[in-house]
């Protein structure tokens, strides 16, 4: 029965797994310094297979018998028509049961590997399930992983744990691919844990740093809170649906029935799923682990903590949209969590001096954007398709531009002798031209500079939220969310370019650790940077306004019906103004050649003159914006460090304190043990006698 | 209860006799306090030093072995008496089975005995 589609699906996880096994066994002993080769090869293979899935398997998986249902709508060529009657939303059922709205209905392609277990009423198959959303994620994950692996082969060169690093990375890609390919919630949970585990191993890669070991543990413990939510959600799903398969659980017709009967249950399931997603995607208030996770090697930050693993939460919510559409409450919470996170993280990022931390908070903030988009569907079910499409679109573009930013930051770190404090270097533009230009591309895309990737995806998200303010019962709420989104957009542009100017402009200074002649990215580092930078610039333009992306993702089975997606020109102009404003603001404060604390005599350039003219403005900004912002940022930081962190620590302390209270009983004396045993018997007898007395 | 009444009387008389005798000997008996007579009696040993001295572990080993064989003898006694009584004993169909079980029991005891002997449990020094 094996055919090319099955082989392609199997290759996607199998190749990285094989590479991981190689790195974990053979490469530990021999060929240590070339441990990256099998990994790069395997990831390339996975990428090819993912591309095959994207272009052949998914478009080819159509429902067999369109004729039986042809009376509903005349069939148009696939993906050309976006116009669908909104009334069909509720009746959208698995493709086999209903007819067609536009072109052949797509179903998920499922490769059943084997029956994993059959426990009582619960049957779980290990399947590899591919649909449009999966295919997009797979291509993104494997593409970014491949580039990061190539980058890391040079970046990690000479590291003591070189094979260990690549082994863990390949294991991560395997787990992530399996998470995306999962066909039921149990599979999701297993690989949800597995990616967390790989993340733990990779954050703690430099275990000799106590901070790295602590960060790894923190990430793990915080994530367990989210896992608790996911696990409980799966219990409830199993209890409610009697199955954990996507095909059964996410059946819209059945969900609609159930939602009418038990709305509270659906909301509970959705909120528990959200708790899982909050943990994995570092949303407020569980976002505290992500900035600390920057202790890991930078390629790891780029891959796991920017592009792939942290987006798993967004993916989970997008995947379970059929559940969420029936619970406006849960969606409002999603939007609220997203907006809060976006703003809090953006404000915190304003004052960071650690380049990677700026990017980490920025990641948290952008993930907040995606949640915001997903939650916007609360206003009207008609928005669900847009919300899901654009959240996933931002996920894709964000993966590209955040990966390039992280890798460029890694390149800076590499050149600066592992110094990442922006106060200790500046003016790197001449010394590191490749890094500079690629970082600039990423920064512009992140800031939402017109026509770049971030512009398209972020604009669409704001447009979705705008639509949410126009319909439904929650107009005020969504106006608030929109305001937060716009403000965050301004702040994003500002802090991104603050980091950019602090790093690449100003007087040329290197820390002592860098030596005298810092070298720019080696070819193995430069090529991934260029490719990702190019994508950060053009991906949005190619996929966004042309609707290629939107049309493709509509092939996902059970995808909500889309209303026509118009360009929201007003929102575009507004976000452009905000992006440019943020960049300009950053420029006027940090773009000067001289820095107050480092005013050494250097020949002045254009920057100096402009900033001289803007001196008054500078002070005004300082008084009106920078100072309050700094205060607010400090407050956020304080909340983060002193309160949320402490809460996390305190939760961790409860078992220790409780254990310490029981411990004195354990005194090593046989007689006291026997006494306690006897006491136990007496208590049991007393309670049982009391129970008997109360019953009879 | 009537049947037990005789036993109660018997018990009362018994205890009373003991107590009466003890009191009588104390009162009537002659008392000559010499050093030897005042010495506590301890199974023929001179009561020198602390009474709580640790005994050689061999005492315990022998005591345990004695106890085991003693208890097992007690187990065999009712079997020997009751098993082959004919009426009211072990049913005829089972008599050979029970006999076999007893042989296994003896065999196990013999193994234990050989083990103990070989391990030098019976050697005092």
């Amino acid at each position: 029965m094996a055919n090319w589609s099955d082989i392609a699906l199997a290759t996607i996880p199998a190749a990285p797994l094989a590479a991981a096994i190689w790195c974990g066994t053979v490469a530990q002993v021999v060929r240590r310094t070339t441990a990256h080769r099998p990994v790069v090869l395997a990831l390339a293979l996975s990428l090819v297979a993912a591309a095959y899935v994207l272009f052949v398997v998914v478009p080819g998986s159509v429902v067999d018998s369109p004729a039986a249902h042809s009376q509903i709508t005349p069939i148009e060529s696939s993906g050309e028509s976006l116009v669908k009657p909104i009334s069909l939303i509720a009746s959208e059922t698995p493709a086999s049961a209903t007819g067609e709205h536009h072109g052949p209905a797509h179903k998920a392609y499922i490769f059943e590997v084997y029956r994993w277990m059959s426990v009582g009423g619960l049957t779980v198959d290990i399947v590899l399930r591919a649909d449009a959303m999966t295919a997009l994620m797979l291509v993104m994950v494997n593409f970014v992983s491949l580039l990061v692996a190539i980058f890391a082969s040079s970046y990690m060169h000479g590291d003591k744990g070189y094979p260990r690093f690549f082994g863990a990375m390949a294991l991560f890609v395997f787990s992530m691919n399996m998470l995306v390919l999962a066909g039921n919630f149990i599979e999701v949970f297993i690989f949800w844990e597995a990616v967390g585990l790989c993340s733990y191993l990779l954050i703690g890669h430099w275990y000799h740093k106590p901070s790295a070991a602590a960060a790894a543990r923190k990430a793990f413990v915080v994530n367990r809170i989210g896992d608790f939510g996911l696990m409980t959600a799966i219990f409830l799903i199993y209890r409610t649906f009697g199955s954990v398969d996507f095909e059964t659980v996410l059946d819209p017709a059945r969900l609609a029935e159930l939602a009418a009967a038990q709305p509270g249950l659906i909301t509970t399931i959705a909120l528990l799923l959200l708790l899982g997603a909050i943990g994995k995607s570092a949303q407020f208030p569980l976002h505290v682990w992500l900035p600390d996770a920057m202790e890991g090697p930078t390629p790891v930050s780029a891959l796991i903590h920017a592009a792939t693993m942290v987006t798993a939460g967004v993916y989970l919510i997008a995947r379970t949209t059929p559940i969420f559409v029936h619970s406006p409450t849960a969606q409002l919470v999603v939007a609220g969590v997203g907006a809060t996170t976006a703003l809090v993280a953006a404000v915190t990022a304003l004052c960071q001096y650690d380049l990677k931390r700026v990017l980490a908070y920025s990641t948290v903030s952008q993930l907040g954007y995606m949640f915001m988009a997903l939650g916007a569907a609360a206003a009207s079910p008609a928005l669900a398709a847009h919300a899901e499409t654009f959240a996933m679109f931002h996920l894709l573009t964000h993966a590209f531009f955040k990966a390039v930013l992280f890798l460029a930051a890694g390149s800076v770190m590499h050149a600066m002798g592992d110094v990442i404090d922006m106060r200790r270097f500046s003016g790197l533009k001449k010394a590191l031209p490749i890094t500079h230009i690629t970082f600039l591309c990423g920064a512009l895309a992140l800031a939402g500079f017109p026509l770049l990737s971030g512009f398209w995806s972020k604009d669409e998200i704001l447009a979705v939220v705008w639509e949410a303010t126009q319909t439904g019962d929650y107009k005020t709420y969504f106006y608030l969310i929109l305001g937060v989104g716009l403000l965050t957009s301004l702040l994003t542009a500002f802090y991104t370019f603050r980091a950019y100017y602090l790093t690449f402009h100003g007087p040329e200074r290197f820390p002592e650790e860098a030596g005298h002649h810092p070298h720019d990215a080696s070819p193995a580092m430069a090529i991934p940077l260029y490719i990702l930078a190019a994508l950060a610039v053009v991906a949005g333009l190619i996929l966004g306004p042309t609707h290629i992306y939107a049309h493709y993702i509509e092939m996902t089975p059970n995808f909500p019906t889309a209303a026509p997606a118009g360009m929201n020109v007003g929102m575009m102009i507004l976000s452009t103004v905000l992006a440019l404003g943020g960049i300009g603001l950053a420029y006027s404060i940090y773009g000067k050649a001289t820095r107050p604390e480092y005013s050494d005599a250097r020949p002045l350039s254009l920057w100096e003159n402009v900033s001289l003219n803007g001196l008054y403005l500078d002070q005004l900004y300082g008084a009106l914006i920078a100072r309050p912002m700094a205060t607010l940022s400090a407050v956020c930081e304080f909340v983060d460090r002193m309160i949320l962190d402490k809460i996390v620590d305190a939760v961790g302390l409860i078992p220790i304190i409780a254990g310490g209270m029981i411990r004195p009983l354990q005194n090593g004396l046989v007689s006291s043990y026997a006494a306690v045993m006897l006491l136990g018997v007496i208590v049991a007898l007393a309670s049982v006698l009391r129970a008997i007395a109360s019953v009879t | 209860m009537d049947g037990l009444f005789a036993v109660l009387i018997y018990t009362g008389v018994l205890v009373g006799f003991v107590i009466t005798n003890l009191i009588l000997t104390h009162i009537i008996g002659p008392t000559k306090k010499t050093a030897v007579k005042q010495m506590p009696y301890e199974s023929g040993m001179d009561p020198v030093g602390d009474a709580r001295q640790p005994f050689d572990v061999k005492f315990y080993l022998v005591a345990i072995l004695f106890l085991i064989f003693d208890v097992e003898l007690l187990f065999m006694y009712p079997w020997a008496v009751a098993a082959y009584k004919g009426d009211g004993g072990v049913p005829a169909e089972l008599s050979s089975t029970v006999y076999g079980v007893m042989l296994v029991f003896f065999g196990t005891l013999a193994i234990a005995y050989i083990y103990a002997w070989r391990k030098g449990v019976f050697k005092w020094r």
Partner: protein, 502 residues
């Protein structure tokens, strides 16, 4: 004396035929005790390498028993002193395989002069566990439990002669006797109520009695308390960390699994007839809250105290306590529901998996020993992956399995229990499921500390330790099974379901 009927007579005469695998084991025990002393000098000196011979004989005996088990008849017999059903079949399989692993674990832990006795004790314990499952009578049950206890004292005492081992042995002995006495008192109360020691007859007597069986309920409380000692359920667990710490690693491995297996099987055997037969389910109303509390307290205390430990064996002892808490959930859910998956099924599955992972963990600790000195603290594992990468990998698998993380059988075992507790639908059982999730999260903390010490720290020295093959074989076998059971769990699950369908 009333004349027994023919069925009863034949059940007695054919009793020996039902326990042939156990007879093989006990026969080997006799041979060991008979021949063993003649191969050593009276002062206890022996030819070097004698332990290989005794180990080989033990393995041969267990393999014979395994063969007899596999080919033996599966006819169900419910009368007479022994009851043969699918639970017996399952327990025999699990225990014989565990015994095989324990012989390997014990192989290098014992000196040549004491190998005969040590392996004989192991075989006797194995036979005892099987007899617990076979017992159809309170007397048989008690004797079988003592057949486990008494050789266990010896087994703990034999390997080493230092004060710590002796203290551990005596501690276990005294408290074990105490718990046996409590249990026996419970048996006597049940006997007093029912007038018979035959389990099916007790069931009938309870079903026919028209008044509240207060005596039997009190008896059950004592019995559960006595068995809770074997399970190391709180507050009967206190000996476990001290004894685990003091005894040799093979003794700890044995204690961590075998008494728990025996205890749970005895509880299943006792609770099924007694609780199910209770008129108006009064017994269930009374016993279940007790088991519920026992389970909750046990898992929380086990994990709370586990977090604080730096000593590996103490940590594993508390880990065992916590796992007993999880398994009690299965018992709690199991016998008053018809929902699938059944709690008892999940418990039986968990028991097998728990045995593999805990014996495997001890096997690795033994394989990593240096100069025959047991590993004690967590620090001694530091950087193990640099010195012995294979052992570190295997220990990581066991730690993940104990923590209930994929891709290990421990994950599935926990999942089954979660589902059993959750699907049963009772609010109190849902709480149990939630407590389990919380505890699993807490437990992962200290299991991860072990993984962290092995992988994220520098070795203290470059000492490679011994390369004795036996414990390595045992740990490789356990690892393979723990991983395999994750990917293809169906066969074991099918066995478990067969057990319940009888």
């Amino acid at each position: 004396m009333s004349q027994p009927d023919a069925a009863m007579i034949s059940s007695v005469t054919s009793a020996a035929g039902k326990v042939i695998p156990e007879l093989v084991l006990l026969g080997t025990v006799c041979i060991n005790f008979l021949v063993g002393p003649f191969l050593v000098t009276p002062s206890g000196r022996a030819l070097p390498g004698l332990r290989h011979r005794w180990g080989g004989i033990a393995i041969a005996a267990i393999c014979t028993a395994l063969y007899l088990w596999w080919t033996g008849s599966t006819e169900v017999v419910t009368t007479g002193p022994f009851r043969v059903d699918n639970i017996v079949w399952y327990v025999r399989g699990v225990m014989l395989i565990a015994a095989l692993l324990l012989v390997l674990v014990n192989w290098s832990q014992i000196e040549d002069g004491k190998a005969a006795e040590s392996h004989a004790c192991l075989l006797a314990i194995t036979a005892g566990v099987n007899l617990v499952a076979l017992a159809n009578d309170l007397t048989t049950l008690f004797l079988a439990l003592e057949l486990i206890s008494i050789p266990t004292y010896l087994f703990l005492f034999l390997p080493r002669k230092d004060a710590a081992t002796q203290e551990a042995g005596v501690k276990y002995f005294l408290l074990s006797v105490f718990s046996s006495a409590i249990m026996l008192y419970g048996f006597s109360l049940i006997y007093g109520m029912a007038g018979t020691t035959d389990l099916p007859a007790i069931q009938t007597a309870l079903a026919n009695s028209n008044q509240t069986p207060v005596l039997a309920i009190l008896g059950m409380v004592f019995v559960v308390a006595g068995l809770a000692f074997r399970l190391t359920a709180v507050p009967f667990h206190f000996y476990a960390p001290d004894v685990f710490q003091g005894s040799a690693a093979s003794g700890a491995a044995l204690l961590s699994f075998v008494p728990k297996l025996a205890g749970f099987i005895a509880l299943i055997r006792l609770l099924e007839p007694v609780v199910d037969a209770a008129p108006g389910l009064l017994l269930a109303d009374v016993m279940l809250p007790m088991l519920w509390w026992l389970s909750v307290i046990t898992m929380f205390v086990g994990n709370f105290l586990g977090i604080l430990q730096n000593d590996l064996r103490r940590m594993l002892a508390y880990s065992g306590v916590a796992h007993v808490g999880y398994m009690l959930v299965g018992l709690n859910v199991g016998h008053h529901t018809t929902s699938v998956p059944d709690g008892i099924e999940a418990l039986l599955f968990y028991l097998a998996v728990y045995g593999l992972m805990t014996i495997g963990a001890f096997a690795v600790l033994i394989a990593a020993e240096r100069d025959n000195k047991p590993l004690e603290t967590l620090d001694q594992l530091a950087g193990l992956h640099r010195v012995r990468p294979g052992l570190a990998l295997m220990l990581m698998v066991f730690m993940f399995s104990l923590a209930g993380m994929p891709p290990t059988a421990g994950f599935l075992a926990k999942l089954n229990l979660f589902f059993a507790a959750w699907a049963q639908g009772d609010v109190s059982n849902r709480w149990l499921a939630l407590f389990m999730v919380i505890n699993a999260a807490m437990g992962s903390w200290y299991y991860l500390r072990v993984v962290g010490a092995m992988y994220l720290r520098e070795p203290l020295d470059e000492h490679h330790g011994s390369h004795a093959p036996a414990p390595i074989i045992a740990s490789v076998a356990c690892t393979a099974m723990v991983i395999t059971l994750f990917f293809v769990p169906t066969w074991l699950w099918t066995m478990v379901q067969t057990v319940r369908s009888s």
